[in-house]
């Protein structure tokens, strides 16, 4: 946030370790929370809430992938497969055992974490592109297993319909109701990630990312922390998959194919590797930008094309502009939107005196 540190003195360890050490930062975070919890749901049309809902789900998944790729430096292109693990675990529990979401959601996350830790084993021996291929294999294996195991997939269609989540007897159906449901989990995921990355675990992850041999020499158990990173990341992915399942009312592995993994990688790379705010920026960027571009082309394209041609143009323009903007943003700031934001913030921190 935009604020200045001068005049703030810390007198205790607790003050020094606070998530937001500055009072003004705490106030801005509180204000943002109020906007999201009260102002937006009351003022926005359901359509816009539905877009924010998709962003909220994407934030959970992007945070998870950022823990693994951004903080620990282990690449994974199987993130969507872990989502489907979570989705099918939760769906099966919800349908066969009639469990509520507050049981199925962590269960889905834990199952994904377990599978993720197993998939993470190759990371102990290989790095970089080789690890990417190993996780790619896991994506394909998990897809195949779900597709060919009726006990998991629930039949030839490989989709399981789940009931809507209920909170205190209220069924959450409309976008407005689901908004609060998803917002709660997105906020929880953000807070959890902020705390993980500044804890002993998070510091170990960063040490492994920066130089794994050095990390081992200073006493970090590489075996444990690499698998832990995979497990935590997959837990987020699993929860993200469960949220998708409850949001759409169905678990379907075709919604979690390799393109989705690539989308999530795009989110964290555009947003900024190794940053919580970057994951949020990336999720917003990748989810909302195509929609914004389409609306723009629809609004202004009428001057250049007739209606029938416009639909074809809009679809292509969206792809072209989206791709172009990704390139522009990455050329402008290779470290992602988060770095761009920090540059702006640093500029204003000393403004109008640049030195």
């Amino acid at each position: 946030m935009l604020h200045r540190e001068s005049g703030v003195f810390k007198t205790s360890y607790a003050a020094d370790m606070a998530l937001y050490p500055l009072p003004i930062a705490r106030w801005t975070v509180a204000a943002v929370l109020v906007i999201f919890a009260v102002v937006l749901p009351l003022s926005l049309h359901e359509y816009y809430l539905s877009i924010i809902n998709l962003v909220l789900i994407a934030i959970v998944g992007a945070l998870g992938l950022n823990i693994l790729v951004g903080y620990t430096g282990q690449i994974s292109v199987g993130h969507a497969a872990f989502m489907s693990v979570g989705a099918y675990t939760a769906a099966n529990l919800a349908v066969h055992l009639h469990l509520p979401f507050w049981v199925t959601l962590p269960a889905g996350g834990l199952m994904a974490a377990l599978i993720g830790a197993i998939v993470g084993i190759p990371s102990l021996r290989i790095k970089g592109l080789y690890l990417a291929i190993a996780t790619l294999a896991s994506q394909l294996i998990i897809e195949w297993v779900i597709n060919h195991t009726p006990a998991i997939s629930g039949g030839a269609q490989a989709s399981i319909e789940v009931p809507r989540p209920t909170v205190f007897g209220v069924e959450l159906k409309s976008q407005g109701e689901l908004y609060f449901f998803l917002l709660a989990f997105a906020v929880a995921a953000v807070i959890a990630t902020l705390n993980i990355v500044r804890s002993r675990i998070g510091r170990a992850f960063v040490a492994i990312r920066d130089q794994d041999i050095a990390a081992e020499i200073i006493g970090i158990n590489i075996f444990r922390y690499k698998l832990l990173s995979f497990a935590i990341s997959s837990f987020y992915a699993g929860v993200c998959g469960v949220l998708y399942t409850y949001y759409f009312g169905i678990a379907n592995y075709e919604a979690f194919q390799i393109v989705v993994s690539i989308d999530y990688l795009a989110m964290i790379i555009i947003g900024g590797l190794g940053s919580v705010l970057g994951s949020i920026f990336g999720a917003i960027f990748v989810t909302m930008l195509p929609i914004a571009i389409r609306i723009l082309v629809e609004t202004f394209g009428g001057y250049f094309w007739d209606t029938a041609a416009l639909s074809a143009v809009a679809a292509s323009m969206r792809l072209i502009i989206f791709g172009l903007l990704i390139i522009i943003f990455l050329v402008l700031e290779p470290e992602g939107l988060n770095r761009l934001w920090r540059n702006i913030r640093n500029y204003f921190r000393v403004w109008p005196f640049s030195y």
């Binding site: 359901e46 359509y47 789900i57 319909e161 075709e254 914004a292």
Partner: protein
């Protein structure tokens, strides 16, 4: 900085335009939301299907619309991804759409519940789960075309007729794309294998489906079937034609389900000369010999334009026309039932359930959509490649309805 400012201004202007947009909706106008895939995994279909949809709606609008109502189509490209499909549906709802023309199997699966809650009907011609034919379980989902179960049953019937009226002791191979849609007909085929007394063996082709030499060799060399039913998507149908022909299997003993049956597939396999004898299943008419296509071309001519180039792929083009025609017919029924009033989504749904004997001079099958049967009877036609073009091999027919119905009841 000024670039950023300019981008910000144009973005906010665009958003304002969207916010103000619905306010301008007219009284004598009905909105249809159409999801499309022009840029995703199945763009080979979308780039032809969607223009056809627009063409038919433009034709109807140019003649005064449906019972005096102009039809406005909002198209959203969902890229064959699920989250954009949800966003598209909410947008359609905001714009007051009475029909959500969903596109894609995972997309209709994810929207089933939402359609019902929002009381906007959604259609899924040629994709989606076969069980959705049950109007009691899925009140707002309309497959409107033959489901994969009906198609599988029809393929068996076609094979039976081709093989002299009996399948006893015969061997049928089922070559399919290894995804849920590809596997769906197996249940029906297995049932029919038991009742008709033929031996069925299935051959899965893994994604992306461009490599099936081993399966083709298995079929032609080991299993030596009397007939082959293929159910493939994307580029794989053309590969199957090439592989089976290359291994010496007569294409006259092959029938493809609806997604292996477009001109584009035949051309990709080496042209109509290569595919001579190949039969494929259709849920809309093929070719340009329909009055409605002539009218669309006349409309283009009146504007001084050439007929749309998408018509070269007439199979998919006509499916777009079919889809649009059914939607407008449902709206027409709803307006008529209301005595000219503006129908709601719920009333259009009832209108859809009254569609009967609406054939558009043969382009559309004799559907009979009822509150119970949202599939409309599972009608198909089979066309065979003969002398450089598609030739009609059968009239509209349905097959083994009892078996298909049994599966629908058992699933729901």
């Amino acid at each position: 900085m000024s670039q950023r400012v300019r981008l910000g201004i144009s973005l906010s202007l665009g958003l304002m335009g969207l916010l103000l947009g619905p306010a301008f909706a007219q009284d004598k106008e009905l909105v249809i939301g159409m999801q499309c895939d022009r840029t995703g995994a199945t763009q080979i279909v979308g780039t032809t299907l969607c223009p056809a949809y627009h063409d038919y709606v433009a034709l109807v609008n140019s003649k005064g619309g449906v019972e005096g109502y102009k039809i406005k189509v909002i198209e959203i490209d969902n890229e064959y991804k699920v989250p954009p499909a949800m966003e598209a549906h909410e947008r359609f709802k905001m714009e007051g759409a009475v029909i959500d023309s969903v596109y894609g199997t995972p997309q209709i699966a994810a929207l089933n519940k939402k359609l019902e809650e929002d009381k906007i009907l959604g259609t899924s011609p040629g994709f989606g789960t076969a069980a959705a034919a049950d109007g009691k379980k899925y009140p707002y989902t309309f497959p409107i075309a033959a489901s994969y179960w009906s198609q599988g049953a029809a393929a068996v019937k076609f094979a039976k007729d081709k093989l002299g009226g009996s399948l006893k002791g015969k061997k049928i191979a089922y070559l399919y794309y290894d995804n849920p849609a590809g596997k769906e007909p197996i249940a029906v085929l297995e049932d029919l294998a038991a009742s008709e007394g033929f031996e069925l063996r299935t051959f899965a082709v893994p994604a992306p489906g461009v490599e099936m030499a081993a399966q083709a060799l298995d079929i032609t060399g080991r299993f030596k079937p009397d007939f082959v039913i293929t159910h493939l998507f994307g580029r794989s149908p053309s590969v199957s034609i090439k592989e089976l022909k290359g291994k010496g299997f007569p294409l006259s003993k092959v029938v493809a389900l609806v997604w292996g049956s477009a001109e584009a597939d035949i051309n990709a396999a080496g042209g109509f000369g290569t595919a001579e004898g190949y039969s494929c299943m259709q849920f809309a008419g093929v070719g340009h010999e329909y009055p409605v296509i002539t009218q669309i071309n006349a409309m283009y001519k009146a504007q001084g334009k050439e007929p749309p180039k998408e018509q070269a792929n007439s199979v998919i083009y006509n499916r777009g026309v079919f889809q649009a025609a059914i939607h407008l017919e449902a709206i027409r029924n709803a307006i008529k039932a209301k005595g000219g009033g503006k129908p709601t989504g719920e009333e259009v749904k009832s209108g859809m359930e009254q569609i009967k004997d609406f054939t558009l001079d043969g382009l559309v099958p004799p559907l009979n959509i009822t509150p119970e049967d949202h599939e409309g009877g599972g009608w198909v036609q089979i066309w065979t490649v003969k002398g450089g073009k598609f030739e009609k091999a059968t009239e509209w027919f349905q097959a083994y309805r009892d078996v298909v119905k049994k599966h629908i009841t058992a699933t729901n």
